[in-house]
Symmetry: C2
Subunit: 342 residues, 2 copies
């Protein structure tokens, strides 16, 4: 159940048919600093317990999770209590995973406060923490019982964080809504500058919700939403989850995947080239491009989606037409390096 | 999918339609000492990776789980690999939970080596680890894709471990198969002495599989299988998971629940009294009975099944007729103390 709209936050307390128990508000110091008072007011006293933990990819660990589990159990959490996770993707990923395994699973509700979280992380129930072996290696499919998306919360978001949401929206439209992706292409900088992505965000939410409803466990169609993420996750991990933001890494991964889409899958080379250039520029330009490394190759080989049959990536046969293709490390290397000369 | 029968272990390698990847054999030093060679032979070379961890309730912790996750990820586990968990309930609980959260869930297969595991723990997908706040506080519903039950494996089981399986079988029959429970009543010592519980085990497996198939997430009917476990878990936890075995604690918990069933739910008092006496004697007799304590009361108040509405326990209105009833700590105290005078 998704509520979308500016000003929706005020109605959080009655937005969903919550369970009978207490609300456990899970969030970060930064998010509570910006929005804590309004969230508590919106929950009108139902936030009986607050558990605060650091956000950011470097804190999305089994250790942080352990602290959250300890705090929730020390507060005597019960099966009819519920979690309200307020924050960016790392907060909702970790809080959602905690909800998935506390007492073998309790209900949770997502209140994403970043554009990336609104477009992607908070929808669809993929919860997880990272592990030294890779991103999101330990987790569960545990869909939130409700997601409240209020773009007004984005007014306090730093520009770099807003930009990564723009990338994620564009990625979703590229695989699931060719017409909207065509409209958005060429306008990434303009949207980031305006701070208003509502039109594209709403379409991305529509696409993502429909896909995960048809394929909640990512057995087929949902895999398409990983477009840009195969190489992107490897770049992000190789940079220690701090050198490149998730959005920057996905922008570069998507640009490389577009190159391969043109050479392997029949995506129009001029169009693919133009989008790839726009994505690279949007991610910081040529100097931001990572050099191919054994580390990137190592993380690629440990991608969760790999099977004994090999490493399958999502490419595009055209706007809104994802296809699964086996891609070798050598092909990724060539595609990544080709972005320098673009 | 359950395979049951003496000698079934030899056919493990082809007993189920396994995924395409590698088998990760998760087990304990003790189990591999007794059965390792036969299990490896039965898997005919598919056990590519072995991860060994201590069994027993005191080792069923988040720390042990962490070690298993680290080892599996270091070995590059993939989504088409699978877990084979060989051991007692603590091994299958922990290994099943690891399978539930590795890469957001991979397939697992249970090879229970204790009577308790065969009758209960390995069936139905309730996986978990314990937490200082209580037993099974962190876990997931993640049913095994296959369970192979070969009573021949029980020949090496110490008598005390065999006895706790006898209790669990009797508990299952009491709530789900009145006729078989009547047959088993009065014969607990005889069955334990013979080392052959096959007849009752097979019926308990039938009852439990049918119940969990109808109610996998324990939203209703399945709760009945917790008969004896409300007070039993509290006794077990108060004894540091070592003073009373799970089966002994459940025997005492079931005896107390039978007393309450007679006084509150219309179960025949002479029959309830006779079974309660048999269970207490089977668990070690009067000297084994725990004294009521604040610790037991504390664990009762944190029972996972509690809601804001109160603490509901499973009692019996008759043989094979479970009912859910609110039970106060004072009532549990009285029932526990009444067992001394029996």
């Amino acid at each position: 159940m998704i509520r979308f709209g500016r000003g929706e936050l005020e109605g959080l307390g009655s937005a969903f048919p919550f369970p009978a128990g207490r609300a456990f508000l899970l969030s970060s110091p930064a998010v509570l600093g910006f929005h804590g008072e309004r969230i508590r007011a919106a929950l009108s006293g139902r936030a009986a317990v607050e558990i605060v933990f650091e956000d950011g990819e470097t804190a999305k660990t089994l250790e942080t999770l352990r602290g959250v589990l300890d705090a929730a159990l020390a507060a005597g959490i019960r099966r009819d209590d519920f979690v309200v996770a307020a924050g960016g993707g790392t907060v909702t990923d970790l809080a959602g995973f905690a909800a998935a395994i506390l007492l073998r699973g309790i209900a949770w509700y997502a209140l994403p406060t970043t554009l990336l979280g609104m477009a992607d992380a908070a929808i669809g129930g993929k919860t997880a923490v990272d592990h030294p072996a890779g991103k999101n290696m330990v987790g569960a499919f545990h869909p939130p019982a409700g997601v409240l998306i209020d773009p007004d919360l984005l007014s306090t978001l730093p520009p770099r964080r807003f930009r990564e949401g723009v990338v994620e929206i564009f990625k979703t439209l590229l695989v699931g809504s060719g017409e909207a992706a065509r409209r958005m292409a060429g306008r990434l900088e303009g949207i980031a500058g305006s701070g208003d992505a509502d039109e594209y965000l709403e379409e991305a939410i529509r696409v993502k919700s429909a896909v995960v409803e048809r394929d909640p466990r990512e057995r087929g169609e949902r895999r398409a939403l990983n477009f840009g993420h195969t190489l992107g996750h490897a770049i992000e991990a190789a940079g220690g989850f701090s050198r490149w933001s998730h959005g920057e890494a996905v922008a570069i991964g998507a640009a490389a995947a577009l190159r391969l889409s043109a050479s392997l899958c029949g995506f129009s080379p001029p169009a693919a080239g133009a989008i790839a250039r726009e994505l690279v520029a949007f991610a910081g330009g040529g100097p931001a491009l990572p050099a191919w490394s054994g580390e990137i190759e190592g993380f690629l080989s440990r991608d969760k989606k790999n099977t004994a049959a090999g490493a399958v990536a999502i490419l595009l046969a055209g706007w809104g037409q994802p296809v699964a293709r086996e891609v070798t490390p050598a092909q990724w290397k060539e595609a990544l390096e080709s972005l320098r000369d673009a």
